[in-house]
């Protein structure tokens, strides 16, 4: 009876809502995994574009997808050697 009453007033969280919430969060992270092939292709294209404007240290280039609770960010660390004066 008590359980029924507390359900009626929404006091207890239904376990399926918990399941759905946890799934949502874990899938944000799962879906943010780039395959190694794609990541390499991305790096290469970034180097090509950036090289038009600056000299970059290709060996020190780091590109990763960072996921925190419910968002994903592309984080790139690109050491610059020299900036070009003109195109």
């Amino acid at each position: 009876m008590l359980e029924w009453l507390s359900r009626l007033f929404g006091a207890t969280e239904q376990s399926k809502d918990k399941a759905k919430e946890r799934l949502r969060l874990v899938l944000v992270q799962d879906r943010a995994i780039l395959s190694p092939g794609l990541l390499d292709a991305l790096k290469e294209e970034m180097i090509n574009v950036l090289s038009k404007y600056m000299e970059i240290d290709e060996q020190g280039l780091e590109v990763n997808l960072d996921s925190s609770d419910d968002s994903v960010a592309l984080v790139a660390n690109i050491p610059v050697r020299k900036v070009k004066r003109k195109l």
Binding site: R7, Q14, S15, K16, D17, A19, K20, R22, L23, R24, V26, L27, D30, R31, S35
Partner: protein
Amino acid sequence: MGKSIVVTSGKGGVGKTTTAANIGTGLAQIGRRVCLVDADIGLRNLDVVMGLENRIVYDLIDVVEGHCRVRSALIKDKRLDNLFLLPAAQTREKDAVNPEQMKVLMEELKKEFDYVLVDCPAGIEQGFKNAVAGADVAIIVTTPEVSAVRDADRIVGLLEASELYEPHLIINRIRPDMIRKGDMMTTDDIIDILAIKLLGIVPDDESIIISTNRGEPAVLDKKSLSGQAFRNIVRRLEGASVPFLPLEETSMVKRILRLFGRS
């Protein structure tokens, strides 16, 4: 030219083999020429679920290695003349066959059959890659559990990488009593998360265990509720619009009305 369908899930134990057996048998029951292919090399089970384990002579590996013709490896079903099984090899490993060979095999089978149904092994490695090679359509089987739904989502991504788009979803082992109490994710919850097309919902049903014990797919049992669920799935695959079984009705009145076809 027939259509090839792979039944996959990522996670093991969600009912892939049972689903493949029932859909295949259901399609054969309405007159289609069907070939079931067990792609789970080393852990074959489709033969026992179909009750055909005593008739195996050759297997899938014998065919791709050229030891026999496809025709001589196919086992005819006990009940239906237009239903055949190509069993997996039990004593070999998953890398005994490659995706290219599977593609060739699928093309050959599609010439002879209206439907070629491939039972995919659990996991996402070589066995998965073999099973999806040469498939025109994918059916993903999941259950209303966090782990199974998560794996299903991974599979959606991997299928896309293999250029298999718009997979169909079957949610298996639904327990209406738990849904009513809010202790099981509903069909809507799962569709909301996976964002793929729903092909069918199947209740958690004792008759599945009984029919598997006997080696008789439940779809043949007119009285079985899960059998009804599979017959509905078969009709949807054939293009018919069939309402989903009312497994999730929360109000008793609605359920009773549905039972009498009033709603």
